[in-house]
């Protein structure tokens, strides 16, 4: 018989890892709830159409698809933000904005061949703040992300903020249409210069555009980055983006997080629905970002309820990798009760009273002395058996 295998890029979490993950989820949930966010659990299967077009669209090849019995195409939830926008626009109409919503759950993707973190199934924990366009709400999202990273146990963590309008402005100023600009954006995100050169080789603006795009990766750091960036262009959209970013940056600093926030204008990430500030969370112990988010004011109008919105999602598998795994097992049993030779009613009630006192209690139905000793050394070294009188 061949050993049964899992499909590629998914994994089982065994007891210790599972316990770590559940504990982390609890920490994050409490964090979100304490800021007034209320949790929802969206459906895991949705119609393909919801995710195939429009602002929050995912590429067809990135989604995991199946069919229902009528032949309609379904997808395994590729992200939570679109689902929550759909819910807010169709099911929470009586709720008075702003809405604060959070979630923790699995999302699915068909990972690209060449990415450091290949996950077909991953756990996201995140928040969405809907119906508020004040920069203070951007700052709140960033502050909550910072608090979540801190309380999750990260020591060396940082949030970097950027502004998509700076990039969009540069593209407009260069006279690129939105389709070409979107291509350039995704290539800049990948730092794929071949593709940029191939794409722009036909347009007359090549040199000016390319040279600015090449500046972007170095436009990161403290507040001085904004002044440097302002020298690159005098296009109004770019300058207002820089002002917006300065406001948010100053607010987060004034709340006591100056050490953990920086600016990066070279950040142009994600699925096209961002309309303002964007941010991502990094830790020195992981080679890739573990949190990302931003403002997406256009998405909800697609579902018929125009509302400004800001939010973020953390990847829990990345977060767990960045945190040092404790050497000791997180799963433990306090008391073992020898229950092999006794009536179950007696051992069970003894166990129940210990459980009521907060102990974890395991009943041992084995009767053979030697096997009991083996069990004890294999699974619970140092634990003492208890017998019921």
């Amino acid at each position: 018989m061949t050993t049964p295998q899992l499909p590629k890029n998914v994994q089982d979490l065994l007891m210790d890892d599972c316990a770590r993950k559940i504990a982390l989820e609890g920490t994050l949930r409490n964090q979100f709830l304490s800021f007034g966010y209320r949790e929802v659990s969206p459906a895991g299967l949705e119609y393909y159409d919801t995710y195939a077009s429009g602002i929050g669209a995912h590429a067809q090849e990135d989604m995991i698809k199946t069919l229902d019995h009528t032949g309609r195409i379904l997808v395994l939830r590729p992200d939570f933000t679109t689902a929550i926008a759909r819910i807010a626009a169709t099911k929470l109409l009586s709720e008075v904005p702003p809405l604060r919503i959070c979630y923790i759950g699995s999302a699915y993707a068909d990972p690209k061949d060449k990415s450091a973190k290949k996950q077909a199934e991953f756990t996201q924990a995140g928040i969405e703040l809907l119906g508020c366009d004040d920069p203070k709400s951007d700052a709140e999202a960033v502050l909550l992300a910072l608090e979540a990273m801190k309380n999750a146990g990260l020591s060396n963590y940082m949030i970097e903020i950027g502004q998509v309008d700076f990039f969009k402005g540069l593209m407009e100023e260069a006279g690129l249409d939105s389709e070409t600009a979107e291509k350039v954006r995704s290539f800049v995100e990948e730092k794929n210069m071949l593709a940029i050169d191939l794409l722009l080789s036909g347009s007359g603006e090549k040199e000016a555009v390319s040279s600015r795009i090449r500046e972007l990766p170095m436009l990161f750091g403290g507040r001085d980055v904004l002044e440097k960036a302002a020298k690159l262009t005098d296009y109004p959209k770019c300058l207002s983006a820089l002002r917006n970013l300065g406001t948010i940056y100053d607010m987060v600093c004034s709340c006591g997080y100056a050490e953990h926030i920086s600016i990066d204008l070279g950040m142009v990430h994600s699925i096209g629905y961002y309309t303002g500030m964007i941010f991502q969370g990094i830790s020195a112990s992981l080679g890739q970002p573990l949190l990302s988010g931003g403002r997406y004011d256009e998405l909800l109008s697609q579902f018929g309820r125009p509302m400004s919105a800001v939010g973020f999602a953390m990847n829990l598998e990345c977060l767990l990798e960045a945190l040092d795994a404790p050497k000791e097992s997180g799963v433990s049993v306090d008391v073992l009760i020898l229950a092999g030779k006794q009536e179950l009613s007696r051992t069970f009630s003894a166990a129940q009273s210990l459980r009521a006192a907060g102990k974890t209690v395991e009943l041992v139905f084995e009767t053979d002395e030697e096997k009991i000793q083996n069990l004890l050394t294999a699974r619970h070294p140092g634990l003492v058996l208890r017998e019921v009188e």
């Binding site: 990415s115 940082m158 050169d197 170095m218 920086s262 080679g287 890739q288």
Partner: protein, 215 residues
Amino acid sequence: MEPITIAMAKGRLADETLTLLENMGVDVSALKEKSRKLVFYSGDHSYRFIMVKPSDVPTYVDHGVADVGIVGKDTLMEENRPLYEMLDLGFGTCRICIAGYAEKEPLKNAHIRVATKYTGIASQVFSTRGSSIEIIKLNGSVELGPVIGLSDVILDIVESGATLHANGLSILEEICTCSARLVVNRVSLKTKESQIRPLIEGLKEQIEKRSNDHD
């Protein structure tokens, strides 16, 4: 302070890079001795060097186990990973070309068979064109493809063009020019900025100095 880790492939790119670092005042003597070790430290332990295969350099940097990598642009294009490409080191120059028998005009075929070891670049280059293609992955002596009838064209790096010429092939199209690049992990650039920025600035200075000397 923790050293920053630089991934590079043994050979010319590494030798040239070490020369630049030496001119910057970095003690790289440990790397000049003949050794089968794969990990080396600079004299003051501010840099750690790991020696890997060229095509693995982007992998190490993407995963963040190396902060910085020195690698040819051709390899970067082929691997196509999300890295920051921060510096053109100016050496290791070559061209990526499509070559074949010019008189057969193979690029006008409706279906083109392409022999190459750069399968990623080939599919990217041809994806924007009308012809459909069949990519035939070869690991060496790619020029044999058209000669022996395995393929219509080849896509490969060309330095002098002597091998092409000796086999009766010519360059049909030049895709781009490649040289050695310094790439940086996306997170390391931020978390180790105080070490990586001076490295980049220092190397940049050396490269400019070198090109001025040539003038």
